[in-house]
Structures are given as structure tokens and as C-alpha cells.
């Protein structure tokens, strides 16, 4: 088979296609977006009829994949780490139902928060749900794990997690493909009650899940993804998880590595191998790109007995992603670094694109809000979050998908009136509609601005489920049509738009102002395509 140059994300997609996947389900989220996009652009996937349309959010994505699994076929769900929180209900319960066709949850964590609100480690959630996890160290392993994970999933009828971090997601390397596997045929579960989590069934299924933990551990202990490398210097054993292994090895390119090393790529934690490492070495160094998950297990609550070094004792910084320099420092190596960043270099934070509709929306909103003072606008996740920065300084929250509407409601309930919020069209359909319904039922005085650029902009312009549907959705939820206002955020309409916003801020009920103008990036791309086709 051919060798391809692939991003870690793309390697996972190709591995899943070749591994017999029938459908991929996801909502865009950095650094996971390119997995689904790769399948969408793959000729092979198209020929194989693999489902690859976006879902409205991670929860619907996961549930749909579970439905595909129920019907006997293999499905993958992709998300960023915080997306797993959205899908958590389906996630934890799917461990109890188990699967029919194989299911793989690919979760891309973002240590250092390059494009995220937190740096939670999905391995903790996998442990919480009691499901096995694979963690590749490179693009080839990403491919192989995606390819093999479906089989593992079907062997134990358990969904499995494939956990990566930003660096692997967005780094390219050569990947050797394997033989393409056939997709499963349609086949219902042998036990018709498998997916019916009535307490009586759930209790039985849960016992099976608990019993399987021993088998999962044995799988980890014998897995080729967990490798123990012997070493003569027993003063320290090193446990390196996923991509941290590369950073470790980078530090020994020009010198011998005499410490025993355990490379971890499959969980639950391979207890027997770790036990060997602890018994044979005076101390243990933990390298994990994320939370100190294994480190905490080894150290225990009281931190007595074992000499464990890592993020908890400061050998490695407590937060942020790892890199070869940080790992080198943890090993006590002196780093050669001749140059510093000159003081004249200033930060260059991301900004709105020239001609972006959010700019004109914020200009009008700021003027309309002027009489009431600052601190009354809640916002959400998307390009428009940049409205928090100067020169706009227009918004005062960004917590999780959909939280703008509900926080505005809570503030209004507390007496902060007017209370307003800004949410994008894609975020609105992802998790905003339910909050709107809360407002409508209570007739809460809130002004909801849906900044509708008809795309999922921040992640690169994926299809938005809200495109062309926002007005109807608001009407359908029960917003008074008199208070659904559509404005076009352009400089030339500034005064008119400000007037409309002012009037709606004065209204003591639910009002929705839809600022509708296409994302400048998708518009450019559309025009370029039009030009190319001529």
C-alpha cells in the first residue's frame, strides 16, 4: 500500500476509512476538525458511501453513531476535548449499553489552550466511563490505532477512545496504509435489550463492564502500543505517554539513553508493566501531555512511599503542553539557547478579518448600549468572542457553547435589565435553542443578538445547521415575530441598526436581533470558485 503525508487528524481519518468505518459524526472544533473534513474530501470515502455530514453538536453526533453501531456498522465520533463534555451523557451511558458495530470516540485535547477555554485531559473521562483508550505518539500510530480500534471495540462490545493532543493533530508525517477492510453488513444486536438501559438491564450491563476491566487491563499489558525498553541505569525509570515519548527520545539523539523507558499508548494503565518499572527503579519520571493522570495514580493521595517526579512536584510544569525543551529540562539537561526574543517584539493576537460583519454588529451594539454602561452583554464561542478585546471591549463572558443566552437570562432574573447576549448561528443551533426556550417560557427580558454569518467561521467555514433557518427556528420556539428583527451589519446601515438595537433593548420581553451577513472568508472562497469555474 502507498505511503501518504498526513496530519495526525488526517491519519486517523484514513485509518478509520481503511478500517471499515461506515460513518463519521462530528461538530467542528479545533484541533479535531480536520478528521471529518478529510473524510468529506476523500474520493475513497465517497465511493464507499461513508456518511460524513456534520452534526448539530457533539451529543447528537455521538448518539447518531451509537444508532449506526446498533445497526451493526462501524462509526467514529470526533470532537475537541470540551465537546466531550457536551456529549458526556451519551458517552458515559454508551459504556453501559456497549456497542454492536465498533465505535471509536476520537477526542483531541488542547493542552496550552491554543484554541480552547481549558486544557482538560480526556483520559480522565475515559477512566470515569471505564472505557479503554488509545493514545498515539505519532501519525503512523494514529492511523494504526484508528484502524485497529474498531476491532477491539467489537471484540468486547465496548466503545473506545482515541485521545490525541493538538501537536499530533496538526503535524504531518509519512503514514503507511494497510489493506482496506470491508464495512460491516446491517445486523441488529443479538440481545434486543442491550441498548435498553432500564435499571434492571443497566445493572446487568454494568456488571459486565466492571468484569471486563480485567480483560482491558490484560489487553493493555500485552499491547504492542505499550512498550517497555530495558535500561542499565536503575536510578530512574521513565514513563512517557503518547506524544511525550517523542519529546523524550528527541533528547537522546546524540547521547545514549540508559534509563528504562515505558512508552504508554493504551489504557487502562498496564499495571503489571508499571509494577515492574516501580520495583526495578529508584525513582519514576512521568511525562504526560495533559493532566498528571498516571502520576496521580502512582503517587497516591498521601504521596508517600514512591519517589515520583512529574507535574505534581514541579519537575515538569503543572500546566501547558510539553515540548522537547521542557522534557530536556526535566531530565536535567542544560539547553543551548543563544537568542532571546528581542523586547521590541509585540504580541499579535487574532483579530476580526477586514470587512467582517461582526465588526459592524459590535459598533452598533456598543452605541446602543452606551446609555446603560458596560457589563451587560454575554457572549459565546466563535470568532465574535474577539469582541472582548479592544477596540470593541463589548462582551463580558465566554464560557461554553450556548452559555451566552442562559447567562443573559440569569443576569436578567437577578435584575440586570437590559441584559443582552451575542451568539453565532452555528453556536445557536449547537446549544442556544434550549436556552432561548427557557427565556420564552418565562418571558424573560433579554435581547439576543444572533450574529449570523451562515457558517461555522472560527474553525474554517464548515456548514452551519443554522444557515437559512434562524428566523424560522426563533418563530417556531415562540419568539413574538414583532421582536424578531433582521439587520444587515454594514457600516452604511450603522444608524438604522443602532436604532433597532436601542428599541429592542428597551423592550421588556424576549427579543431576537439577527445580524445577517455572510462570513467574509466563505464569501471570498465562493467568489474564487466562481472565478475558477468561468
Amino acid at each position: 500500500m502507498e505511503k501518504l503525508l498526513l496530519l495526525g487528524d488526517e491519519a486517523i481519518a484514513q485509518g478509520a476509512i481503511d478500517g471499515g468505518m461506515s460513518g463519521i459524526y462530528a461538530y467542528p472544533g479545533t484541533p479535531s476538525t480536520e478528521i471529518t473534513e478529510y473524510v468529506q474530501h476523500s474520493k475513497q470515502a465517497k465511493e464507499l458511501g461513508i456518511h460524513c455530514d456534520w452534526s448539530v453538536n457533539e451529543k447528537t453526533a455521538m448518539e447518531t453513531a451509537l444508532g449506526m453501531s446498533y445497526a451493526g456498522k462501524r462509526a467514529m465520533v470526533c470532537m475537541k476535548h470540551v465537546g466531550l463534555n457536551v456529549a458526556a451523557d451519551a458517552f458515559v451511558n454508551s459504556a453501559i449499553t456497549g456497542v454492536n458495530g465498533g465505535v471509536v470516540y476520537t477526542v483531541a485535547d488542547d493542552p496550552s489552550m491554543h484554541s480552547s477555554q481549558n486544557e482538560q485531559d480526556s483520559r480522565v473521562l475515559a477512566k470515569f466511563a471505564l472505557i479503554p483508550t488509545f493514545e498515539p505518539s505519532n501519525q503512523q500510530e494514529a492511523y494504526d490505532m484508528a484502524y485497529d480500534a474498531f476491532q477491539f471495540s467489537e471484540k468486547y462490545k465496548i466503545p473506545v477512545m482515541l485521545r490525541i493532543t493538538t501537536r499530533l493533530a496538526h503535524s504531518r508525517a509519512g503514514v503507511q496504509r494497510r489493506e482496506v477492510k470491508q464495512q460491516n453488513i446491517l445486523k441488529l444486536p443479538e440481545n434486543p435489550l442491550q441498548f435498553v438501559l432500564l435499571p434492571s438491564v443497566a445493572r446487568r450491563n454494568y456488571k459486565i463492564l466492571l468484569k471486563n476491566q480485567e480483560a482491558f487491563r490484560t489487553e493493555s499489558e500485552t499491547s504492542t502500543f505499550n512498550k517497555y525498553f530495558e535500561g542499565s541505569d536503575k536510578s530512574m525509570g521513565i514513563i512517557a505517554c503518547g506524544i511525550a515519548y517523542n519529546y523524550l527520545m528527541e533528547n537522546f539523539q546524540d547521547k545514549p539513553l540508559n534509563f528504562p523507558v515505558l512508552k504508554v499508548g493504551q489504557y487502562p494503565v498496564p499495571r503489571k508493566i508499571i509494577n515492574k518499572m516501580v520495583e526495578e527503579n529508584d525513582s519514576i519520571l512521568l511525562l504526560e501531555d495533559g493532566y498528571p493522570v498516571i502520576e496521580e495514580l502512582l503517587k497516591g493521595m498521601l504521596g508517600i512511599g514512591l519517589n515520583v517526579k512529574g507535574r505534581l512536584d514541579g519537575t515538569v510544569p503543572r500546566d501547558g503542553e510539553l515540548n522537547p525543551t521542557i522534557v530536556g529540562a526535566a531530565l536535567g539537561f542544560i539547553q543551548k539557547q543563544e537568542n532571546k526574543i528581542p523586547e521590541l517584539v509585540v504580541d499579535r493576537p487574532p483579530i476580526f478579518c477586514d470587512g467582517c460583519g461582526h465588526i459592524d454588529m459590535y459598533n452598533a451594539l456598543n452605541e446602543a448600549m452606551n446609555p446603560y454602561g458596560k457589563g451587560r452583554v454575554f457572549a459565546d464561542i466563535g470568532c465574535y468572542t474577539l469582541g472582548a478585546l479592544p477596540p470593541y471591549s463589548a462582551i463580558y463572558s465566554c464560557v461554553d457553547m450556548g452559555a451566552s443566552i442562559t447567562m443573559a437570562k440569569g443576569a436578567s432574573d437577578a435584575g440586570l435589565i437590559p441584559s443582552a447576549c451575542v451568539i453565532g448561528d452555528s453556536t445557536f443551533t449547537h446549544s442556544g435553542i434550549t436556552g432561548l426556550l427557557d427565556c420564552i417560557v418565562e418571558k424573560t427580558p433579554v435581547t439576543i443578538i444572533i450574529s449570523d454569518n451562515s457558517t461555522t467561521g472560527m474553525t474554517g467555514g464548515q456548514n452551519s445547521h443554522g444557515k437559512g433557518r434562524i428566523i424560522e427556528i426563533c418563530k417556531g420556539c415562540g419568539v413574538d415575530p414583532e421582536h424578531i428583527k433582521v439587520i444587515k451589519p454594514l457600516h452604511k446601515y450603522h444608524e438604522e441598526n443602532t436604532k433597532i438595537l436601542k428599541a429592542e433593548l428597551e423592550y421588556k420581553g424576549v427579543s431576537v436581533v439577527i445580524a445577517q451577513r455572510e462570513c467574509i472568508q466563505t464569501l471570498k472562497r465562493r467568489n474564487a470558485q466562481k472565478f475558477a469555474n468561468k
Binding site: 501537536r167 503535524s171 537568542n339 521590541l344 474577539l386 474554517g460
Partner: protein
């Protein structure tokens, strides 16, 4: 053979085309390659960089350790300085001289250029001007790649072949413009080294 390259710029300036051109050429020469890039929020006018690592031996880390980069290729002058801690003592800076100013406190460009020129090995090139001269103002990134060619341990001809592969599907005209830009940059460095 080992080559560690930082490619720097501002989101949207075309650093990934530079990375793809060098990367394809490296693969043609049967070399190992790892290339990490920035997707997401910073692509909206923020600072972006790509770590491109090429070697005849398998490569471990996707990121270049501090102090080990052989070259910084930058489409924006201030951005070339942001990654100085990565540069090795004998490393080269190859950068555009035309600033991309989208922040209020952008430093005096003369001071920026003076700082760049204070480094032992540097090539500063007005890529915009050269790209405009050859009738393709949008190919400044390829002019800069051309200017970096002498330091890439691969021949100009090999790189030209790589660019033909990358831009081939966009048509003959696009290939030709990019090669013209590459050549102009290459000749600039040969004259000014």
C-alpha cells in the same frame, strides 16, 4: 543530513505553501519529514508558525527544540524575531522586509530591520517589490522561499520540481508565476550573500 526550519508569518500570508513546497521536495529525495502547523484561532491575523523538520534518519519530536533551528524563513520582519530562541548559533534568518501592521503598537520598522541585521547570518529581502516587478504581487511567499533556497540543502532544480507538483493542479499559469517568483528570490540571495 538534518534540517530544522521555522517558517513564520501572520495568519493568511501563505506560510503553508512554503512548508508544502519544501516538504514535497524532501519526500521526493526520500527524506524523513515532520511538519507541525497552526490551525484555529491564530489564523485570524495572529502570529503563526510551522516547524518543518527534515532528516535522512527517523525524526522524533514534531517540535524543534530551542536553539536547534537551522533557518527561520519569515514572510514578516517582526515575526522572524519572535522565533529567535529556536535559532541555532550558526542559523540563518531569511525574511521579508515589508511589515504587516495589524497591531497599534507595531515597533518602528527601521529598528526591527536593524535588529535582524545585527544577527550574523541574515538575508533581508523586499519580497513584495520583487513579486510586483515580476507581475505577481501575491507570490511574495515564493520569493522568500527562493531567497532561502541556498540554505535548504536541496538544489534549486529539485525545489522547482516540488513546486510544479504542489501547484500543478492549479494550472500551468500558476506554476509558472510561482517558479518565476522562486527564481527571483534565489537570484537575490546569490547576489547578496
Amino acid at each position: 543530513m538534518k534540517l530544522d526550519i521555522i517558517i513564520a508569518g501572520v495568519g493568511g500570508q501563505g506560510i503553508l505553501s512554503i512548508a508544502a513546497s519544501i516538504g514535497t521536495t524532501a519526500l521526493n529525495n526520500n527524506l524523513h519529514l515532520k511538519q507541525s502547523e497552526v490551525h484555529g484561532m491564530s489564523q485570524r491575523g495572529g502570529d503563526v508558525q510551522s516547524h518543518l523538520r527534515i532528516s535522512d534518519k527517523p525524526i522524533q519530536s514534531d517540535l524543534i527544540p530551542l536553539g536547534q533551528a537551522d533557518i527561520i524563513i519569515s514572510i514578516e520582519p517582526m515575526e522572524s524575531l519572535r522565533y529567535l530562541p529556536y535559532l541555532s548559533a550558526e542559523g540563518w534568518i531569511v525574511t521579508n522586509t515589508i511589515p504587516f501592521i495589524n497591531v497599534k503598537n507595531y515597533p518602528d520598522i527601521d529598528v526591527v530591520l536593524k535588529e535582524i541585521k545585527s544577527h550574523k547570518h541574515n538575508i533581508t529581502i523586499n519580497a513584495e517589490e520583487i513579486a510586483t516587478e515580476i507581475g505577481s504581487p501575491r507570490s511574495a511567499n515564493m520569493v522568500i522561499l527562493g531567497a532561502a533556497t541556498p540554505f535548504l540543502q536541496m538544489s534549486y532544480e529539485e525545489l522547482e520540481k516540488g513546486i510544479k507538483q504542489i501547484f500543478g493542479r492549479k494550472g500551468e499559469a500558476v506554476v509558472e508565476t510561482n517558479i518565476k517568483a522562486l527564481k527571483a528570490g534565489w537570484e537575490f540571495t546569490k547576489k547578496n550573500m
